[in-house]
Amino acid sequence: MPKLSARGSSQPVWLLPLVVVVVCLLSGLPLARLLYAGLRFSLEGKATGLFTEPATWAAIRNTLTTSVGGMVISVLLGATFAFFVTLTDFRGKGVFSFAFVLPMMIPPQVTALAWVQMSGPASPLLKALGLAPPLGSPQPLYSLGGIVLLLGVQHAPLVFLALKAGLASLPRDGVEAARLAGASPSRVFRDIILPLAVPGLIAGAAIAFVSGVGNFGIPAILGIPASIFVLPTLIYSRLSSFGAGTFAEMSQLSMVIAVIAGLGLTAQQWALKGRDYRIIGLSGKNAAFSLGSFRLAAEAGFCLVLFFVLVAPLAALVASSLVPAYGVPLNFQTVSLDAYREILFRQSVTLTAFANSLFLAGTTACGLLLFTVLTAYLLARRPGKLANVITGLIEVPYALPGIVLAVAFILLFAAPLPLLNVSIYGTIWIILIAYFSSFFAVSLKPVASAFLQLDPSLEEAARLSGAGFSRRMRDILVPLIAPAAGASVILVFLIACSELTVSALLWSAGTQTLGVAIFNLDDSGSSDLASALSVLVVVMVILLMLLLEMLAKHLPRGVLPWRN
């Protein structure tokens, strides 16, 4: 007679311990290490004297200025766009949404590079058009204002998406009832829609602020040439000028970033209090305001905005990848594909970067999927407090600014591994582990929502058919969640492939990633090569996004960040 097992659940006994161990290693351990270092160094605060330096306070001030300023621009841009796209009879909503969200998926250093190529005296595009300012005049984007503007553009899609999710559930009948009650369209907007949109607006603003605090790519490209430092770039420069107190300073600065980001989220919690408006009623159709004759003007306006934030910078990027050298105007005599030839066939640095990034992104995307499927299964089948803790632990490293996570991994792996006595610091493996930690949440989300949507009786029927855990996984569950698993792999690959912040701190000779290569090429003045590499990255991003777009109808709702 078969033995009775002690538990009636569908999960094998090893599943929970495995997931807990993996999550603790990837999330708990680095976070605990950082917290420990930060607290210890803070208690011995006088040892570093970090907070007596004016540079530190300037960086804190700059961080606050740029992230608050960026947030304001993001909210203005994102909210306007969200209101028009969800509430009016605006045409081409799908295409506009895709184009508007694209800047979010383009790596920030590429955005910054594109804007630098678009403006300033050396812009090949402006030169070709004869609009360039005289040589020697300053690049206007190398300033706090430039950083604010670009952070605003980069994070506007976050506000757009947060707001769109809330507005999309706003039922048409609520608006129609208000119209019947005698309210004019503008009155309906003020009295009904705006109050209901406030939670989304607050959430979007908070995400934009926190993302601004942690952004490294934009202030690195725009700030460092003008000696304007924010906290992430200050950490980076401290690491470059490695000294005795470096670890202590870096962990303290990371703590400051974490505290600022935490304050932003606390402010959000406070602002959201008492604003939990659950929408009652059928939210089938969206509310639709007719724009009338104003529609064409609105559409043209958005085309213009998209031209300036998306088309023009990308065109400038392409233009500067086609000129033979910095400062040369682009025309039929000068145009050449040398830069592409150089990065694809000659430069060993970029070739290594390609190999590294493809290896890191591919391994992260596929390797994480294995844990993700098991974790998502566990979370779906075993809801409760422990599941919430596990989800929280997985999300923290993703929510945390990348630079903070990188510091945590440096602290964790600076010394050789115990027992093995091997150091992975300076190898590609430290980047890989940091990516596993950072992108666990990205990988988990599509798979977890697919499991939650799955009718549990599909698995129960397989159990009664006699299929054990691995058999059910193979025959029933994995085939059913396959589209979401595919989306998870592509999303992680997409983000990891052009990632800069984490690898900027963790790379060393031979382990540079594409993000680092773009940054270094630009830093060393090879803007044509940096642009060519960026163009390839943008093309790859767009292709992968289109691939996901084709998968979209097989995916659970909310899996693709640019759709809902």
Binding site: P2, L4, R7, S10, L458, E460, A461, L464, G466
Partner: protein
């Protein structure tokens, strides 16, 4: 095969009120038991404990000599040799009809020609042979239901569990499927347990009905008996049509109360009252009877259904061949009643 025994079975999800408490029940070999009760009464939890999806907090489940579950542990569902038709049918959308039906065989290592012939036989029983290569999404609700049934048939399970399998079908399909279930039961000889909240289904299909309410088992009996001799107010109200009258009847005497005793009780206003179930077919218009007021009269096709009110304000139901005006007083005789 052997009889299925539930022994003081209890399940507490920790919500403050046990979902199932102290249910003891024996299903004879080859029996067809309907678990009947309103939603939330614990019948589905009992079914899921028999299947092995939930572990009992207390008590045990035996299949013949084998212990399937007790307070300390439980045999996983994959080792129980049971099959189930789910309310949602639980067909796997990525497999064809034949693959769905043949999956339990595949797991048991049956392949090749043996697999094909057994799948074909199972599909033949539910008359779906020509749909073997289709996907479940191409089928209608009734056809999906039959695929789910064929999947149960294919391995000759010891026990077949059915979780409100007809809840999602329209009335016309329901009666056709009831016929299929009856055939299936006769043919397979498996012990079947059928969860439903529809007493009509339960009576039409089952050899035994178990009525549950608020986690407790109220009564187990064959359909005719549970209809004629229900135990207690809850079973009386749940099974069949009827009204419960509170009348001052004597404590002793038979539980089947004849008209003279009922008439006497109507005249008696003193003394403690006892609940008595009156079926509508036993209430007939008769000049010898007591006066009741017709409060509504609804045409139901083959007859009229009357709602009646006694002088004391209690409600009764009756059938009539002719229409009666609302509000009139008419004499009725209650041929018999059943003391609950």
């Amino acid at each position: 095969m052997a009889q299925l025994i539930l022994n003081h079975l209890s399940k507490d999800f920790g919500t403050g009120r046990p979902a199932v408490s102290d249910v003891s029940l024996t299903v004879r070999e080859g029996g067809f038991l309907a678990l009947l009760g309103p939603s939330g009464c614990g019948k589905t939890t009992v079914l899921r404990m028999i299947a092995g999806f939930e572990q009992p907090t207390d008590g045990s489940i035996m299949l013949g000599e084998r212990t399937l579950a007790d307070g300390s542990g439980s045999l996983p569902p994959e080792k129980r040799n049971m099959a189930m038709v789910f309310q949602s049918y639980a067909l796997w959308p990525h497999m064809t009809v034949a693959q769905n039906v043949g999956y339990p065989l595949k797991v048991r290592g049956v392949a090749g020609a043996a697999w094909e012939s057994r799948v074909r036989d199972a599909l033949a029983v539910v008359r779906l042979e020509e749909f073997a290569a289709r996907r479940p999404s191409d089928l209608s609700g009734g056809q999906r239901q039959r695929v789910a049934l064929a999947r149960c048939l294919v391995t000759s399970p010891d026990v077949v569990l059915l979780d409100e399998p007809l809840a999602n079908l329209d009335r016309h399909l329901k009666s056709a499927m009831e016929e299929t279930f009856r055939e299936f039961h006769a043919r397979s000889g498996a012990t079947m347990i059928y969860v439903t909240h529809d007493q009509g289904e339960a009576m039409a299909l089952a050899t035994d009905i178990a009525v549950m309410s608020e986690g407790r088992l109220m009564q187990v009996a064959p359909p005719e008996e549970i209809y004629a001799r229900p135990e207690g107010r809850i079973v009386g109200g749940l099974v069949g049509q009827g009204a419960i009258l509170d009348l001052a009847l004597a404590d002793h005497g038979p539980r089947l109360v004849p008209w003279p005793a009922i008439e006497a009780a109507f005249r008696q206003t003193e003394g403690p009252s006892r609940p008595m179930l009156v079926r509508p077919e036993h209430v007939v218009a008769d000049p010898q009877g007591i006066m009741l007021q017709v409060s509504s009269c609804v045409f139901e096709g083959e007859r009229f259904s009357l709602s009646l009110r006694t002088a004391g304000g209690q409600s009764l139901r009756a059938y009539s061949k002719t229409a009666m005006a609302c509000g009139v007083l008419r004499p009725f005789v209650i041929r018999q009643g059943w003391l609950l």
